[in-house]
């Protein structure tokens, strides 16, 4: 081993103490990217995988062919959902720090992804989220208190105490159960969509995973099966630039966009400004229309930034520059939508403050209610017997016996 290594090792935009260099992010001007017909063949739109669909310019004006021309009321709704996600996240982060929940994951800076995408879909569409898509639950109207009960593993926990915090689900809202194992949901969504197609139903499936998770085998399986069967599915890569401590170059993002992966499989693929509520909504609507008209699957790469640490177990100051998000060239999704609404004359600083206060109060009140159903260490607790249920539909003999043994042990 006397010779010099030639192995290429991707380098991140900045390490602690360095000034972040985000010049690697290819940015198209707002309004600059053409919008093809929804019936277009995947192979004819490679450019969409390399350019960056943007609607909101620096002047907060909505421009270009991808402008979804949403009603101001929808924009206000979107703003509200994003703000609620952010306020909820902040509060839960503090709650974890105070030792009242065991774990939390914020989506700070990425709120537009879940909220705008969810708003562009129909309630019957099935969502297969990752752990950073709390915006989907909030947009689909899940009460905050229900989410908190999951975080507390308390007596009203929808998971009956079985899952780590943030691993929500909602059958009523068509949101699938979240897995701790990365990427597994991606090909499951494709299978769900295949079933919809087999049954001749109009619903589509949508799934989300992170830039780091694209390296997982399931990403490949999802794309292969989606392409082969032209499944009505929207596969979203949330490129927030970081896995845990490794930046997107370690998932291959240095060489090519993640959207380009999809093109390679013959899946229509779009790279979009993930912090631009309007652009995210527009591309999702386009993809949904494709899926519903039988034009096949779409991969969307949402370019955004993980402003938060990976989770409450993480300390990003160990591996990246502090305040690096301030250098992020695509801004903040909430600020951008707010500025746009103000420019439209449909919003104001005052209304914004009022809304924040309202949502703060909602979150605070929800927490007060949630803890009455029990907390991690105090108050009412779920019965531990529940641990033996739902392993199988009917409890087999070994579990019956073990449950009995556990009951004895507790008495």
């Amino acid at each position: 081993m006397n010779k010099r290594s030639r192995l290429h090792l991707p380098a991140p935009p900045a390490r602690p103490g360095e000034r972040p260099d985000f010049s690697y992010v290819q940015i198209s001007p707002a309004g600059a990217v053409a919008r093809p017909e929804i019936s277009v063949r995947a192979r004819d739109i490679d450019y969409l995988a390399h350019e960056l669909v943007r609607v909101l310019g620096d002047d907060a004006e909505a421009v270009g062919p991808w402008n979804p021309h949403l009603d101001p009321s929808d924009l206000q709704m979107g703003l509200r959902h994003m703000l609620l996600v952010r306020i909820f996240d902040e509060r839960m982060q503090r709650t974890q720090r105070a030792g009242k929940i065991s774990f939390y994951i914020r989506s700070l800076g990425e709120e537009a992804v879940s909220v705008a995408q969810c708003m562009a879909l129909l309630p019957g569409d099935m969502l297969f989220p990752s752990y950073r898509n709390q915006g989907l639950h909030i947009t689909r109207g899940m009460p905050i208190v229900d989410l908190m009960c999951q975080l507390l593993s308390n007596t009203r926990d929808m998971c009956k105490g079985r899952q780590l915090p943030v691993m929500y689900h909602s059958k009523a809202n068509n949101i699938f159960t979240i897995s701790g194992n990365l990427a597994t949901q991606f090909p499951q969504a494709v299978g769900w969509a295949m079933a919809a197609a087999i049954k001749g139903e109009d619903h589509l499936a949508a799934s989300w995973l992170g830039d780091g998770s694209t390296a997982a085998a399931d990403f490949h399986h999802a794309l292969t099966f989606a392409a082969v069967y032209q499944a009505p599915v929207i596969l979203n890569v949330v490129n927030n630039q970081w896995a845990i401590s490794t930046f997107q170059g370690y998932a291959g993002g240095e060489q090519r966009s993640f959207a380009a992966r999809g093109s390679g499989y013959g899946v229509a693929s779009i790279r979009v400004d993930g912090n631009d509520f309007l652009a995210v909504h527009a591309v999702t609507q386009w993809a949904a229309a494709r899926a519903r008209t039988g034009a096949g699957p779409t991969l969307i790469e949402l370019v955004t930034y993980r402003v938060a640490g990976h989770s409450t177990s993480d300390d990003p100051s160990r591996y990246r520059a502090k305040d690096d998000h301030k250098f992020w060239p695509l801004g903040d999704p909430i600020q951008r939508l707010k500025a746009h609404l103000i420019r439209l004359g449909e919003w104001s600083e005052d209304r914004h403050e009022t809304l924040i206060a309202e949502l703060d109060a909602l979150v605070a009140k929800s927490w007060q209610e949630a803890v009455t159903y029990g907390t991690l260490n105090e108050g009412p607790r779920l019965n531990a017997d529940l641990m033996f249920e739902d392993v199988f539909k009917e409890m087999p003999q070994n579990l019956l016996r073990q449950r009995a043994a556990m009951r004895l042990q507790r008495t």
Binding site: M126, F128, M158, C159, K160, R162, Q163, M167, H169, K171, F176, T177, S179, N181, T184, F186, P187, Q188, A189, V190, G191, W192, A193, M194, A195, A196, I198, K199, A205, A217, D218, H220, H221, A222, T224, F225, V228, E389, D390, V391, F392, K393, P396, Q397, N398
Partner: protein, 338 residues
């Protein structure tokens, strides 16, 4: 009733279920137009259409994952893994997802997927077409594990598996596809036509999951086995003139503990036989359960007969296979003690 070999019985099970339940779909590598490399799905795509009997890409992980998604969306997928040796790329989706959906979602989501896969050796398949990995799946809670030993059971168990709302991994001992096999490769092949279990009801019936079968009642010793080894055990006991009680587990999970213990309590002696490698094979769990439940009734240490702890070698298939000689040896050992 009709004569069927095990392939025909499995085919008939899927045929019956495709006809009865529009939610049933089959999927797997080469199972569609071609009818499967072992021909288990022959004719079914023609009969039920390309949309019910799907050829898939060669990605076992993708097959299981999409089957899960389909199951969650109301279908009842029966996925074939072409050889059990190739189930490993799908094991994450099986262990981390399929087996866990119901539990982690508190019953709100589940996927009634059946995974069929041919296992076992004796067909000169070498180390990558002969494995019996069932023990691994028995350790993953939340999955049922089945292995039939004859056409009648194969059909009834497969229908029961497809109808079951829990996921099932269904192992098919491929050496038994064409006939019962007593472990002696030099004897002429015996077809299923000459065996009572080759008589199969043509329509719908089930063999319940979780119930072992007493293949032969007896009082000298209990032989607990499943799959290919059932016939080897029968032959070995007969050759020794032993009045053995031979139990075919049929379902490994959930395990029919009562059947095993009732028998061992009666005979006081026990031999366990399977084709999979011995170390941490399913025989270990069976032995453990029997020891725990029947210790005071045992008149001799329980013996295990299994494949050696090596890969299945192409040239030494019959030295590897736990044939009659090895079962006899074990039987003699437990019987010697008085």
């Amino acid at each position: 009733m009709a004569h069927m070999n095990m392939i025909q019985a499995l085919n008939s099970a899927m045929d019956v279920m495709l006809a009865r339940d529009p939610a049933v779909v089959l999927m797997g590598e080469d199972i569609g137009y071609f009818g499967g490399v072992f021909r288990a799905t022959e004719g079914l795509q023609r009969k039920y259409g390309e949309h019910r009997v799907l050829d898939t890409p060669i990605a076992e992980g993708g097959i299981v994952a999409t089957a899960i998604g389909m199951g969650v969306n109301g279908l009842r997928p029966v996925a074939e893994i072409q050889f059990a040796d190739y189930i490993y790329p799908g094991i994450d989706q099986i262990a981390s997802e399929l087996a866990r959906l119901r539990f982690r979602s508190a019953g709100d989501f589940f996927a009634p997927v059946t995974i069929r896969t041919p296992c076992g050796g004796g067909i000169r398949g070498g180390q990558t077409h002969s494995q019996s990995p069932e023990s691994i799946f028995t350790h993953i809670c939340g999955i049922k594990v089945v292995m039939p030993s004859n056409p009648y059971d194969a059909k009834g168990l497969l229908i029961a598996s497809i109808e079951d709302d829990d996921p099932v991994v269904f192992f098919e001992p491929k050496r038994l596809y064409n006939g019962p096999f007593d472990g002696d490769p030099n004897k002429p092949a015996v077809p299923w036509t000459s065996h009572p279990k080759g008589q199969v009801t043509e329509g719908y019936y089930t063999v319940p999951l979780g119930k072992a079968e007493i293949v032969r009642a007896g009082s000298d010793v209990t032989i607990i086995t499943y799959g290919t080894m059932v016939f080897v055990a029968v032959a070995a006991a007969a050759a020794l003139g032993l009045d053995a009680e031979i139990i075919d587990l049929r379902t490994l999970v959930p395990l029919d503990v009562d059947a095993l213990c009732t028998s061992v309590k009666k005979t006081g002696r026990c031999v366990i036989a399977h084709e999979a490698t011995r170390f941490s094979g399913f025989g270990a769990e069976i032995l453990a359960v029997v020891q725990e439940e029947c210790f005071w009734d045992l008149e001799a240490p329980i013996q295990r007969v299994a494949g050696w702890d090596t890969p299945y070698p192409h040239a030494f298939e019959w030295e590897y296979f736990p044939g009659q000689a090895r079962v006899s040896e074990a039987l003699k050992t437990v019987m010697e003690v008085t």
